[in-house]
C-alpha cells in the first residue's frame, strides 16, 4: 500500500530516517557481520593470533557432543514451555471467557506476570524451591519427594520450565482470550440450540476457530523459549548443575564470555540467527494467511 499524497523534499526524508538507520547499521549489521566473520576464524585466548579457518568452527560444533546435548535440551525445553504454557493459558482463557461476573478482576490478576522480568521470575521461583528454606521444597519433602534443583539436573530443568511458563502465561492468556471473544456469538448459540453441550461446542467450534491464534502463539512461545529465557536460566541455575540447563542461548553467552571461545561462540550465534530467521519467516507466512482467513 502506498500513499497517493506525498511531500516533495530532497534531504528531509534522509534526515528523518537517519537516526534509525545509523543505529541499525552500527548495532545490528556491523555486529552481525562480525559474528559471521568471527565464526570463520580461530583466535587464541589472548587475542594475539587469528587464523582464518573456513568452516572449521562449524565442523567442530558438529563433532561436539556437548553442543548436541544443548540442542536436544533446547528442543525438550521449548517443547515443554510451549505445550504446558499454551495448555494452561487456553484453559484459563476458556474459563475467563465463560464467566460474566468478575471477568475483569480475573483478567487484571492474570496480566501482571508479564511485567515481571524473567531474571526476577527466576529469583522468585528459586526462592520457593530453595533446598534449605523453600516453602514448596519443604512441602514436597513432607510428601516424600526430595527436591533439590541445585544438584538434580532434571529437577533444575523442570524448575526453569515452570518459571518460564509462569512468566509467559499472561501473554498467551490475553491472545487466547482475544481470539475467543472474536468468535461470533451466533455460532455458539446455534450450536447450543442444536443441543451441543459446552464440551462439544469447545472442541467442534471454538478450538478449530482458535487454531490460527494457537499457531501464532506456538511460534512466539518457541522464540521465547529459545531466546527470551536467558534471564530465567542465568538467575536460577547458571546452566547447571553440570550442563543440565545450558540451553543454546546460554551456551553462546557462556562460551563467548566465560570460555573466551570467540570463534565457537560466533559459530553458535550464526546458527541461532538462522533459526530465528526461519522461525520469523514461518511466523510471517502464517500472518499473511491469517489475513485471508
Amino acid at each position: 500500500m502506498e500513499k497517493r499524497v506525498t511531500f516533495n523534499e530532497r534531504w528531509l526524508p534522509y534526515l528523518l530516517v537517519a537516526p534509525q538507520i545509523v543505529i541499525t547499521l552500527v548495532f545490528f549489521f556491523w555486529p552481525s557481520g562480525q559474528a559471521i566473520w568471527q565464526s570463520l576464524l580461530i583466535e587464541d585466548a589472548f587475542g594475539g593470533n587469528t587464523k582464518f579457518v573456513w568452516f572449521d568452527n562449524f565442523a567442530a560444533l558438529l563433532h561436539d557432543d556437548a553442543y548436541f546435548a544443548s540442542v536436544r535440551l533446547t528442543l525438550v525445553f521449548s517443547a515443554l514451555v510451549a505445550s504446558i504454557g499454551l495448555a494452561v493459558s487456553l484453559l484459563l482463557a476458556v474459563m475467563a471467557d465463560r464467566v460474566i461476573r468478575g471477568a475483569t478482576v480475573y483478567k487484571t490478576f492474570l496480566v501482571w506476570p508479564y511485567a515481571v522480568a524473567p531474571a526476577v521470575a527466576g529469583v522468585l521461583w528459586g526462592f520457593l524451591f530453595n533446598p534449605s528454606i523453600g516453602i514448596v521444597a519443604w512441602m514436597l519433602a513432607g510428601i516424600g519427594i526430595e527436591f533439590n534443583y541445585v544438584i538434580n539436573g532434571n529437577q533444575a530443568l523442570l524448575l526453569i520450565v515452570i518459571a518460564a511458563v509462569w512468566n509467559q502465561l499472561s501473554y498467551n492468556f490475553l491472545f487466547f482470550l482475544a481470539g475467543l471473544q472474536s468468535i461470533p456469538k451466533s455460532l455458539i448459540e446455534a450450536a447450543a440450540i442444536d443441543g451441543a453441550g459446552p464440551g462439544r461446542r469447545f472442541w467442534d467450534i471454538m478450538f478449530p476457530l482458535l487454531s490460527p491464534t494457537g499457531f501464532f502463539l506456538l511460534v512466539i512461545n518457541v522464540l521465547y523459549a529459545f531466546f527470551g529465557t536467558f534471564g530465567v536460566v542465568d538467575a536460577l541455575t547458571k546452566g547447571g548443575p553440570g550442563q543440565a540447563t545450558s540451553i543454546l542461548v546460554y551456551k553462546v553467552y557462556n562460551d563467548g564470555f566465560r570460555g573466551q571461545d570467540l570463534g565457537g561462540s560466533s559459530a553458535q550465534s550464526v546458527i541461532l540467527m538462522i533459526v530465528v530467521v526461519l522461525l520469523t519467516i514461518v511466523q510471517f507466512r502464517f500472518i499473511e494467511r491469517r489475513v485471508h482467513y
Partner: protein
C-alpha cells in the same frame, strides 16, 4: 453465556481461582518474606503470613542495599538507573521510529525501500544471538558504563516503525492534501496533525517498551562493570546467586518486590493501552 449451567459456571470460577492462587503464590511469598527478620527466614518452614519488619527491611534495602560494608548498592540508585534506562528506551524507540515511519510513508526518495528492508531485518536478530560482537562494537565506541551504552544500542525498533507505518497509511490522504494546499511544511504537518493523531498508538507502545526497557537483563549485564550503572533487575539477580553465603532472604525479597513494582503498576494502571500495544506490536 448462551445457557444457564450453574455447575459449569461454578467450575469455571473454581478453575480461575485455583489458577490465580497458583500464579499469585510466588508474589505472595515474596511479600511475606520481605516482612520478616533475617532469623525467621532461615528456619524451614518459613511462615506463610506477613511479619512485622516490613518498614525496616524496605528502608534498609533502599538506603544502604543488601548488606552494608561489603559493597551493597542502595536500591534507590539501581531503581533510578532502571527508570532512566526504561524511559530512555521507550521514548527513544518511539521517537526514532515515528520519524522514520513518517519519512517512509510520506516521502518518495531513492533508497526508500532499501531503508525499509534494513529496518525490517532487525526484527530477526534479538540481542541474545549477537551478544559477543555487539559487546565488541559498544566497547570499541567507548560506550561501556554509560547510559548511552545502556540505551542506544537497543532502541532501533522494527515493530514500532511498522506500527506507525500501518497507522500513517490509515490516515486519510485529504489531511496531507489540505495541509499542502494551505502551505504547511511537512514538519508542520507532522507536529500539528500526525503527532496528535498518533496519541493512542504512542501510549500503547510506551507501555510495552517501558516494560521491555525496565526488564532488560543480558544487555546491562554486559555493558556495565561499575556498580553505579547497575540496574535493579541485575542487582536482584546478582544478589540471588550469592544469597546462600550471606543469607538475608528478607532483604533479597524486598529488593525483588520493589524491582517488579514499577512495571507491574504500569501494566495494571494502563491495562487498556497495554493489551492494545501487545496485540498491535505483534501484527
Amino acid at each position: 453465556m448462551v445457557e444457564n449451567r450453574p455447575f459449569v459456571t461454578f467450575l469455571s470460577h473454581f478453575v480461575l481461582v485455583v489458577g490465580l492462587v497458583v500464579i499469585a503464590f510466588p508474589i505472595w511469598m515474596t511479600f511475606v518474606a520481605s516482612t520478616h527478620d533475617q532469623a525467621t527466614m532461615l528456619r524451614s518452614p518459613i511462615p506463610l503470613l506477613p511479619g512485622k519488619h516490613l518498614l525496616e527491611n524496605y528502608r534498609e534495602v533502599l538506603s544502604s542495599g543488601y548488606n552494608q560494608g561489603s559493597g551493597g548498592i542502595p536500591l534507590f540508585m539501581t531503581l533510578t538507573n532502571s527508570l532512566i534506562m526504561a524511559l530512555g528506551v521507550a521514548l527513544g524507540k518511539i521517537a526514532i521510529s515515528i520519524i522514520s515511519a513518517f519519512a517512509i510513508v510520506y516521502f518518495r526518495f531513492p533508497l526508500r525501500m532499501i531503508f525499509f528492508w534494513a529496518i525490517f531485518v532487525t526484527l530477526m536478530l534479538p540481542v541474545e544471538v549477537r551478544i559477543v560482537p555487539t559487546y565488541g562494537v559498544v566497547a570499541s565506541l567507548g560506550m561501556l558504563d554509560s547510559y548511552s551504552g545502556l540505551i542506544i544500542p537497543i532502541i532501533a525498533s522494527a515493530t514500532a516503525t511498522f506500527l506507525f507505518r500501518q497507522f500513517f497509511l490509515s490516515v486519510p490522504d485529504e489531511l496531507a492534501e489540505a495541509a499542502r494546499v494551505d502551505g504547511a511544511s511537512p514538519m508542520r504537518f507532522f507536529w500539528d496533525i500526525l503527532l496528535p493523531m498518533s496519541r493512542t498508538s504512542i501510549a500503547a507502545l510506551f507501555v510495552i517498551q517501558f516494560i521491555y526497557g525496565w526488564n532488560q537483563y543480558l544487555w546491562p549485564l554486559l555493558v556495565t562493570t561499575k556498580q553505579s550503572f547497575y540496574t535493579a533487575v541485575m542487582a536482584v539477580s546478582r544478589q540471588a546467586t550469592v544469597v546462600d553465603t550471606v543469607p538475608s532472604w528478607n532483604l533479597l525479597m524486598a529488593m525483588a518486590l520493589l524491582t517488579m513494582l514499577p512495571p507491574v503498576l504500569v501494566v495494571v494502571v494502563m491495562q487498556r493501552q497495554f493489551v492494545r500495544g501487545l496485540v498491535e506490536t505483534e501484527k
